[in-house]
Symmetry: C2
Subunit: 141 residues, 2 copies
DNA sequence: CCATACCTGACTAAATTGGTCAAGTATAGA
DNA sequence: TCTATACTTGACCAATTTAGTCAGGTATGG
């Protein structure tokens, strides 16, 4: 099990954005430099974040992105969902006629993965962008 | 984030094994048939489980595998560790001189992934094979 | 001695990841 | 109006990982 870079970058970039977003939009170039993330890759990520109404864009010189919601209303769940980072513990979820073991029944450990998924998702649902910048203000990097 | 088949199969196979392991060893062929997992793949997995003292093998006709510990002492953590299923949320862990962003500092969300990792691992540490077969006896598949 | 079942290592097709590259479009400021 | 900045879109790709397969073993009970 692992979290991919896309999800990690999305969170990093949004934390960065939230910290510098005061009046002026923040350009991807700045985020790219500060966080050491490829600009081209950031563009892909922000395209998705925008489609999910997490950020909005301002074009042109001095343009950039700003948050489209209160940091407290942006949960990790929303971010991961936006960039297609799925907490799929197992394939059992597929809406096939068959069960997850190719037979008619549920696989022997099906309930376990359900439970695990809930466990992880509860973490993501409870953690907001606000929580993350709050911490950051304290450690003051 | 996803859990790979290897870890899932390992757990499924061990649950199967734990349920049929009374006096006689259980052959991989039987597990393969019941759980619909490739025999060749199972052999790879059990080789690792054996190296980690979770099961032991009995060769020859009527041979097979049996648990090497009390089901209550086999936690999901142990199983995943054995088959190299890692809960690595992020690469930040590498013991490189540099921080996780290529700079000298920790990345801006470093603590978050630490926290997440702990959250997930606590689930794995608390769940034993015993818990899983207990449930199975109840639902009686 | 042979069928069963464990054991080992090499190999591979397909998918995913983590990007790069190229060619735009919109807009603020000179 | 021109131009630099910065968002926008889509195609492409190398490297890695995954989920196995295949081909040979070796040990042992009957």
């Amino acid at each position: 099990m692992k979290l991919t870079s896309k999800g990690r970058y999305a969170v990093m970039a949004l934390v960065d954005l939230a910290r510098f977003d005061s009046i002026n939009p923040v350009s991807l170039r700045d985020i790219s430099l500060r966080q050491n993330i490829s600009l081209d890759y950031l563009e892909q990520i922000f395209s998705k974040l925008k489609k999910n109404n997490i950020v909005k864009s301002i074009r042109g010189t001095q343009g950039g992105y700003i948050l489209n919601k209160n940091p407290n209303d942006i949960k990790l769940t929303n971010i991961f969902y936006a960039v297609d980072e799925k907490v799929k513990t197992v394939q059992c979820k597929k809406e096939s006629k068959k069960g997850c073991n190719g037979k008619a029944t549920k696989c022997i450990t099906h309930d376990l993965w359900d439970e695990l998924e809930n466990h992880i998702n509860s973490f993501f649902k409870n953690k907001s962008l606000e929580d993350l910048i709050k911490n950051k203000k304290e450690t003051r990097i």
